[in-house]
């Protein structure tokens, strides 16, 4: 029989969710962790148990940061927290109700405390041709490598900006994949450039790691081209090549698979759906839920921890998960605030270090402005409904200055993804048309359920 109530329900099995579950269970909270995936780890440590068990060779490809997740996964397995993998959460409501679909049946779980730990997603990269089959987010290739031990068997072109691009390209090249080109919009950043950023010295080890990836790619003979502009994916039924401009000249490189990346942003679907107040983060150029240092939102029962509350990376996510669990215990009367503060001291110190590191990375690798917004009138903004830039601009010309107005006029954001992907793009298109910042465009509202649920499941809802 499925559980119908608990003290602390955690949504998401990545570093923040697992760390929160370990801490919550240790404090005697009746804790349940719900996760869409079949095994713990989140996307960052996806498949870590299977890799260790059956594909240990792949650890050399994936690197030590990935392997670091094994300790947290093992601690979570031993924690005593209830674990429900394969659970799709389609709503979280401020009164504590969580809608879950699992194994073809839906139910409502009532939680005294809800911790949303749904992590990050890749920022969309709406360049011409981005909807073609054979074009994926760079993280998708990592997912296939981690979860399935699968790598591309066709020449890959990686396009975009951000440190993750170097990592993905390095991992694929280590696995023997032909990287036809790494096309970066930004300049080539050396250690001397990096050290000009305030706080960079304290981030020295992280920066060295990034430079090591770049040097490793060079050593493997992977062409890295910096200062690229106007990338276009060519192909009719499938991606065939990427053309781009560098140094005033147009170039073209054939590709069987194109990987795109322009940094990561919080996945706000559940926190938005729960009407948690959101704030614009100018440094990371994205929306995130408003939280205090314990992850608390404007709703008394709901907290958000990890990258879903602002991008800080896996180590910070674990700290924030533990801190949110400590705060949950205070709110449930199992701990007093002074104990909480004492128990959080190590995590607070680690968090400060991670925040300073992230600040350096954010300044070194801002999102590439050119990749945020499509220009051509026929360029696709909304993948689901095939809504173009021209249609959005037409709505703006008719007086729609806010994202939800534009959505109502154009259907942009009304497809199955509910604007997860096109939301940030539509905001940029509107903002550019009106000559203002993207934050002024607002955010698409989210309708529950946040994931599609068959009507038959809702009809037999157990609650």
């Amino acid at each position: 029989m499925s559980r119908m109530s608990c003290d602390l329900a955690i949504i998401g099995g990545g570093p923040s969710g697992m760390a929160a579950a370990v801490q919550g269970a240790a404090l005697g909270l009746d804790t349940i962790l719900l996760d869409e995936q079949p095994a713990p780890g989140g996307q960052i440590y996806r498949g870590i148990e299977a890799v260790q068990r059956a594909r240990a060779d792949d650890l050399r490809i994936l690197g030590e940061d990935y392997e670091e997740g094994a300790g947290l996964v093992a601690a979570f397995r031993d924690s005593g927290a209830a674990y429900e993998p394969g659970s799709v959460v389609w709503q979280a409501v401020e009164d504590g109700r969580i809608g879950i679909s699992h194994g073809g049946a839906a139910r409502i779980l009532i939680a005294q405390r809800i911790l949303i730990a749904t992590g990050a997603m890749e920022r969309p990269v709406p360049i011409p041709g981005w909807t073609l089959p054979g074009v994926m987010a760079a993280g998708a290739a990592q997912t296939l490598l981690k979860a399935n031990g699968m790598v591309p068997d066709t020449p890959v072109v990686v396009v975009g900006a951000g440190p993750l691009l170097y990592l993905v390209a390095t991992q694929l090249a280590r696995a023997g994949v032909t990287i036809a080109a790494v096309l970066l919009t930004g300049p080539d950043i050396g250690m001397s450039d990096a050290l000009k950023v305030p706080g960079a010295l304290r981030a020295g080890r992280t920066l060295l790691k990034g430079l090591a990836w770049r040097n490793e790619l060079r050593g493997m003979g992977v062409p890295m081209i910096h200062g690229v502009s106007q990338p276009v994916i060519e192909g009719k039924a499938q991606a065939e090549a990427v053309s781009y401009t560098v140094g005033g000249t147009r170039h073209r490189v054939p590709a069987g698979l194109v990987l795109l990346h322009n940094g990561i942003i919080p996945n706000t679907q559940l926190s938005l759906g729960a009407r948690c107040k959101q704030a614009w983060d100018p440094g990371q150029h994205c929306w995130r839920p408003e939280t205090n240092e314990w992850g608390a939102t404007n709703h008394a029962r709901i907290a958000v921890a990890g990258d879903g509350a602002g991008i800080l990376g896996a180590r910070a996510a674990a700290c924030l998960g533990r801190m949110a669990a400590l705060d949950a215990a205070v709110r449930l009367g199992k701990l007093d605030p002074a104990q909480r503060d004492r128990m959080a001291s190590a995590d607070r110190a680690q968090l400060a270090t991670q925040q300073s590191l992230r600040g350096v990375l954010d300044r070194l690798f801002p999102p590439a402005g050119e990749l945020l917004v499509p220009i051509g009138p026929e360029d696709v903004v909304c993948r689901c409904e095939e809504v173009t830039v021209a249609e959005l601009l037409d709505a703006v010309a008719q007086g729609c200055t806010e994202a939800n107005r534009v959505k109502a006029f154009t259907r942009c954001g009304m497809g199955p993804c509910q604007g997860r992907v096109c939301g940030p793009i539509a905001a940029e298109v509107i903002a550019r048309a009106l000559g203002q910042g993207a934050d002024r465009s607002g955010q698409f509202r989210v309708r529950l359920p946040v994931r599609p649920v068959p009507l038959a499941e809702l009809a037999e809802l157990q609650s």
Partner: protein, 96 residues
């Protein structure tokens, strides 16, 4: 488009558009189809443009397929099962 770094151990049989396909137990429908060399999963409803998996983590809804008679399922979030019947949704159903 993809290859495996390791030999398959446990396998199950699914049916893709009624043809049997041997896939790795425990993998997602999206991974199984990609390794089988299937780039197109469905057609976008307005103009019928071909679509395949893009994000692989449940956000883009471009890997939609019909699974055991239920349309619009996210292939990247669904684990294969022996005997599972998968149909690509590539028929253009434009109505607008």
């Amino acid at each position: 488009m993809f290859r495996r770094l390791h030999e398959l151990s446990a396998t199950v049989t699914v049916f893709l558009d009624d043809a049997p396909l041997c896939v790795a137990a425990g993998e997602t429908v999206a991974a199984a189809l990609l390794i089988a060399g299937v780039p197109v999963f469905h057609a976008a409803p307005r103009y019928g443009s071909p679509r395949g998996p893009h994000c692989m983590i449940g956000n883009c809804y471009d890997c939609l397929v019909e699974i055991d008679g239920m349309p619009y399922r996210q292939a990247c979030l669904t684990i294969v099962a022996d005997g599972m019947r998968i149909h690509r949704m590539t028929e253009h159903e434009a109505s607008s």
